[in-house]
């Protein structure tokens, strides 16, 4: 079953398309990482997913066919926004009480147990907590609703490395124990290698890459050849070319099995960070580098 499905999804603000023509089928039980430069359309997509924004075109359904924003969809999704919205003057205990009364399903004992484990007292005011503790409070409240899908908008960006590790450990444990699915937007590419199953890369309002990370890493290669003998590669889409006098590096996506490489070309696998940066740079308009002998 797919946890999120979109067809021709688009959202326009005035005359500007924040996102357009998005066709996505995201699998259940996975962590789906949504990445892209600022202003690429990530938050627009997340907001449509949780029902805060209406699409201009197309459709978006969640949890196996429920329209985003419908009561069934809202019950099964928990969303932690980027700024960890909490009432700063309420105590942790009050926040638990309030959230219990605002939700149909809420497991207060689970939230209390988790916060006790982390050494966060119910008497403390939410506004007095450290950044890491605030994030854990927001996450514990979200998980106590027993969602089937947890949506996180850049949750770990303001956290120190230890708090970030603990936050992700809590998310990963919820996946292991409850089988929940997670959609997470992030700029922390190095972290994604360890936590994500599936990657959706948006740039300039369009979905550029969408697939299981293992498959994407298998498809992409960095090919290095002497600039003097660079020639067209069969069965490859060139994503990015960097060229100096002596060497030319090409990040390619194999559309079929690579035909035998020229003997003087080297090929190696790339990581998520290298792959992503290649697409980002490729989508950012800038002066074209001087290329010689490249036939495309």
């Amino acid at each position: 079953m797919s946890i999120v499905e979109t067809t021709g999804l688009g959202r326009r603000y005035g005359s500007t398309w924040a996102l357009r023509d998005a066709d996505l089928t995201l699998p259940e039980g996975r962590l789906i990482a949504l990445i892209g430069p600022n202003g690429a359309g990530k938050s627009t997509l997340l907001n449509m997913l949780v029902g805060l924004t209406e699409p201009t075109t197309g459709t978006i359904t969640v949890l196996g066919g429920h329209p985003a924003g419908s009561p069934a969809a809202l019950d099964g999704i928990a969303f932690v926004a980027q700024d960890m919205p909490l009432y700063r003057n309420l105590t942790v205990g009050d926040m638990i009480h309030l959230t219990r009364n605002l939700n149909v399903t809420f497991d207060a004992s689970r939230a209390r147990a988790r916060l006790a484990e982390l050494g966060i007292s119910e008497k403390q005011k939410a506004g007095k907590l450290s950044g890491g503790q605030r994030a854990q409070l927001a996450l514990s409240l979200a998980l106590a609703r027993h969602p089937r899908l947890l949506v996180l908008d850049e949750p770990t960006a303001p956290l120190d490395p230890l708090a970030r590790h603990e936050f992700m450990a809590t998310v990963m444990t919820a996946m292991a124990e409850d089988g929940i699915s997670v959609v997470l937007s992030s700029h922390l590419l190095a972290e994604l290698e360890r936590v994500a199953d599936h990657l959706v890369l948006v740039a300039a309002g369009r979905v550029r890459v969408d697939g299981p990370i293992g498959d994407l890493l298998d498809q992409h290669r960095l090919i290095t050849s002497p600039t003097s003998t660079v020639r067209h590669l069969d069965g490859c889409e060139v994503i990015e070319t960097t060229s100096t006098g002596a060497q030319t590096h090409r990040l390619v996506r194999r559309t079929e099995l690579v035909a035998a490489l020229p003997a003087d070309a080297e090929s190696r696998a790339v990581g998520i960070e290298e792959l992503t940066l290649g697409y980002f740079r490729n989508d950012t308009p800038r002066p074209a580098p001087v290329l010689t002998g490249v036939s495309r």
Binding site: G29, M175, E177
Partner: protein, 161 residues
């Protein structure tokens, strides 16, 4: 997905814990597979020993549970471990050593090659660089040929469901 349902038994904790090297460039699931193989070679793990529970690995390393499951499936695929429903994954076999005579022949060949590289004027670093890039390239081409030979798309063993 159900993972390691809590079962009351007096199972021993696993003799090993995993540590990740984020700079190695080796995929996380493969690091886990390699650490188990390494522990088997060095005798830290023996048949009957339990591997760390998925929940424990996930909580301590903050990695995706599907990654741990993939690593454990790969170990099962290699015949080194097997899953017992509701209890966890246990070691089944040990790793045999590479035959000594083969190693001797390979070492002799490598020595001859090194002597040739030395007389061509390559120093240790240059030899290392050449070795690394050739090995990488060799594995790439072999992977492509293997995939072509069996006429299946390029995929890692134990691919996702």
């Amino acid at each position: 997905m159900t993972v390691d349902k809590k079962v009351k038994d007096e199972a021993q904790p696993s003799p090993i814990t995993f540590r990740l090297d984020p700079t190695s460039g080796v995929p996380t699931y493969l690091q886990i597979v390699q650490q188990v193989e390494h522990a088997l070679r060095l005798g830290y793990l023996e048949p009957g020993d339990q591997l760390p529970k998925v929940r424990e690995v996930v909580a301590s390393l903050a990695i995706n549970p599907n990654t741990v499951l993939k690593a454990y499936r790969e170990l099962e695929h290699k015949g080194l471990a097997s899953g017992r429903p509701g209890r966890g994954t246990f070691i089944d076999a040990t790793l045999g050593d590479v035959m000594l005579p083969e190693l001797t022949v390979l070492r002799r060949g490598l020595r001859n090659w090194l002597a040739e590289a030395d007389s061509a004027g390559l120093d240790g670093e240059a030899i290392g660089a050449l070795m690394t890039s050739t090995l990488r390239d060799f594995s790439e081409r072999r992977d492509v040929e293997t995939a072509r030979g069996t006429n299946t798309p390029v995929r890692r063993a134990g691919g996702r469901r």
